[in-house]
């Protein structure tokens, strides 16, 4: 028997008990984030670790406090707050004052997640809203990109000229400057938000998640594919566009959030394509150099509609069970 509107299939007994539960899935996500954290620590130094730790600790703390005040069950054991905290940290510039990062955690966990009912009830990805609120609210500190000696020569020379202080590759590209080589972009020897710099490390994490069947490849492939195709349409370098900014982090770790992405495979493909289209539209036409988080947030809001549109069509209702 299958749920006729989704891909979920319920077979008859005997059933195998799978070990998958929320905590296990979330632990896998944390493991998948470790390579990116390692590259960030190499490029930015120990402060990357500190920022990640602060965000993770305060996310868990806010989750615990809110559930306590609202007299709900304690859910910090499901690791979802840790994942939100780490992903939020990955979305911040490494030098951001820590109290601002804590405000981001508050918005992500309390406002976006717990006020709407906790894990499974939030309409948007908590880390994304946390990032966007900080990005709009603290525009200065959120665009203060650190420069370290381990970065690409192209970035260092821009910093030296002081023309566009500490600009990210996307900002340099928007200003028409010399951008780092594609290899440097891929490895992550660039500046940007803390965890988004290394496409290689993020891809490694993504492959781990797909192999472990934590995420389906539909959303990342559709997202990245759309970005690549649209880059060619706009006459841009697709490899640069894929490695720059938050596309990899967004496509692999944020757009694939179970709660805020569609449940059917066609729905996921539409979701990924939508994310890619809006990302490229913002990059090419809008005043912001980067648009991944806005694109994902917009598609998060459209997710219920995508789910409704991509339900399986039922031609003949099953006997008795029809509604």
């Amino acid at each position: 028997m299958a749920d006729r509107h989704t891909d979920l299939i319920v077979a008859s007994a005997p059933h195998v008990v799978a070990p998958a539960d929320t905590a296990r899935i979330m632990r896998d996500v944390v493991i998948a984030l470790i390579p990116a954290l390692a590259v960030s620590t190499y490029v930015f130094g120990a402060r990357a670790l500190l920022l990640t730790a602060v965000c993770a600790v305060f996310s868990v703390f806010f989750e615990w406090v809110t559930r306590k005040i609202l007299k709900r069950s304690n859910t910090i054991g499901d690791w979802s707050a840790v994942v939100t905290g780490v992903i939020l940290a990955f979305n911040l510039p490494v030098g951001i004052p820590l109290w601002m990062a804590v405000i981001g955690c508050f918005i992500a966990i309390v406002v976006v997640k717990q006020l709407f009912g906790g894990l499974g009830q939030n309409f948007a990805n908590p880390a994304i809203v946390g990032r966007i609120a900080l990005f709009i609210g603290f525009a200065g500190p959120m665009a203060n990109w650190a420069i370290t000696p381990r970065m690409s020569q192209a970035i260092l020379s821009v910093a030296e000229q002081d023309a566009i202080t500490g600009a990210t590759p996307l900002a340099i590209s928007a200003a028409g400057g010399t951008v780092p080589t594609n290899l440097e972009m891929f490895l992550g020897l660039i500046n940007g938000s803390m965890g988004e710099i290394s496409a290689a490390a993020l891809l490694l994490g993504g492959i781990y998640l797909i192999v472990r069947k934590v995420i389906s490849p539909a959303i990342p492939v559709a997202f990245l594919g759309t970005v690549a195709v649209l880059s060619l349409v706009f006459g841009l370098d697709p490899i640069f566009q894929l490695c720059a900014g938050g596309v990899m982090l967004g496509a692999i770790f944020m757009a694939t959030d179970y709660v805020t992405s569609p449940i059917t495979t066609p729905g996921r493909i539409i979701f990924g394509i939508g994310c890619g289209i809006f990302t490229m539209l913002i990059r090419v036409y809008a005043s912001y150099p980067e648009g991944v988080s806005f694109a994902i947030l917009l598609m998060n809001i459209l997710t219920p509609h995508i789910d409704r549109l991509t339900r399986r069509k039922v031609f003949k209702p099953a006997e008795g069970g029809a509604k």
């Binding site: 004052p97 405000i103 406002v111 609120a133 709009i136 609210g137 603290f138 200065g140």
Partner: protein, 227 residues
């Protein structure tokens, strides 16, 4: 009797607060509550217009024909709004400029039209005046409190006086639209807590006690006839 008059006066402040409980006049409130002075200025303007129009409409309630009552109310309200705007332009031009289009828009503010329809057209002049003052005070307090919170968090000042600016980086999203909606939601939550959610419950179950009830039932009736 006296108690009743007092109740009419205080109804608008918390129990039937026009913005936070009746959820009327939300657009101007969210738009102008970026600075405490704007919130207060808008609040006083609404208070004056609401009190005067309530008195006038209540006094004219036997003369105004039922079928054209809404245009008549709007003429009365527009008269007072024009007066308020001329006063603002003459004495506080800076405030007039800051509030911009939202002063003329008081004409179609649903709080004022709503009170005219639901209260002033059915009650005595004195009661209507008290209702206007009470509802106006409720609006003024809400707009000012919202604006103070948003100005403090988003700009680090209150009424232009420096509180935290310079020591703490202000969270500028609070004086943008999302901050407005956020503070609005938090204040509604606070009022629901203070009234223990009784007001919201009453409106959901029955229309009794809801000043918009006359409006709603009429709209429903009309809709039903059309269908």
């Amino acid at each position: 009797m006296k108690n009743n008059k007092l109740k009419i006066l205080t109804n608008g402040i918390i129990r039937e607060n026009p913005v936070l409980v009746l959820v009327l006049g939300t657009c101007p409130t969210l738009a102008i509550s970026t600075q405490a002075i704007n919130g207060l200025g808008m609040g006083i303007s609404v208070l004056v217009v609401l009190t005067c129009s309530n008195i006038m409409i209540s006094a004219l309630k036997r003369i105004i024909p039922d079928t054209v009552r809404i245009p008549c109310y709007i003429v009365v309200i527009a008269t007072f709004v024009t007066m308020v705007q001329l006063v603002l332009k003459a004495f506080v031009p800076a405030l007039d400029k800051a509030l911009g289009v939202y002063i003329p828009l008081i004409v179609v503010n649903c709080i004022i039209l709503g009170r005219a329809e639901a209260f002033a057209s059915k009650n005595s002049v004195v009661d209507s005046m008290l209702d206007g003052i009470g509802m106006g005070l409720g609006y003024m307090l809400t707009a000012t409190v919202m604006a103070c919170i948003r100005e403090l968090l988003g700009n680090g000042t209150i009424f232009g006086k420096v509180i935290t600016a310079g020591t703490i980086t202000p969270f500028t999203i609070m004086i943008m639209a999302p901050g407005g909606f956020f503070v609005f939601g938090v204040l509604i939550a606070v009022v629901n807590k203070l009234t223990k959610g009784k007001v919201a419950e009453k409106c959901q179950n029955k229309c009794l006690g809801c000043p918009g009830a006359a409006f709603c039932s009429e709209v429903q009736k009309e809709g039903g006839e059309e269908a």
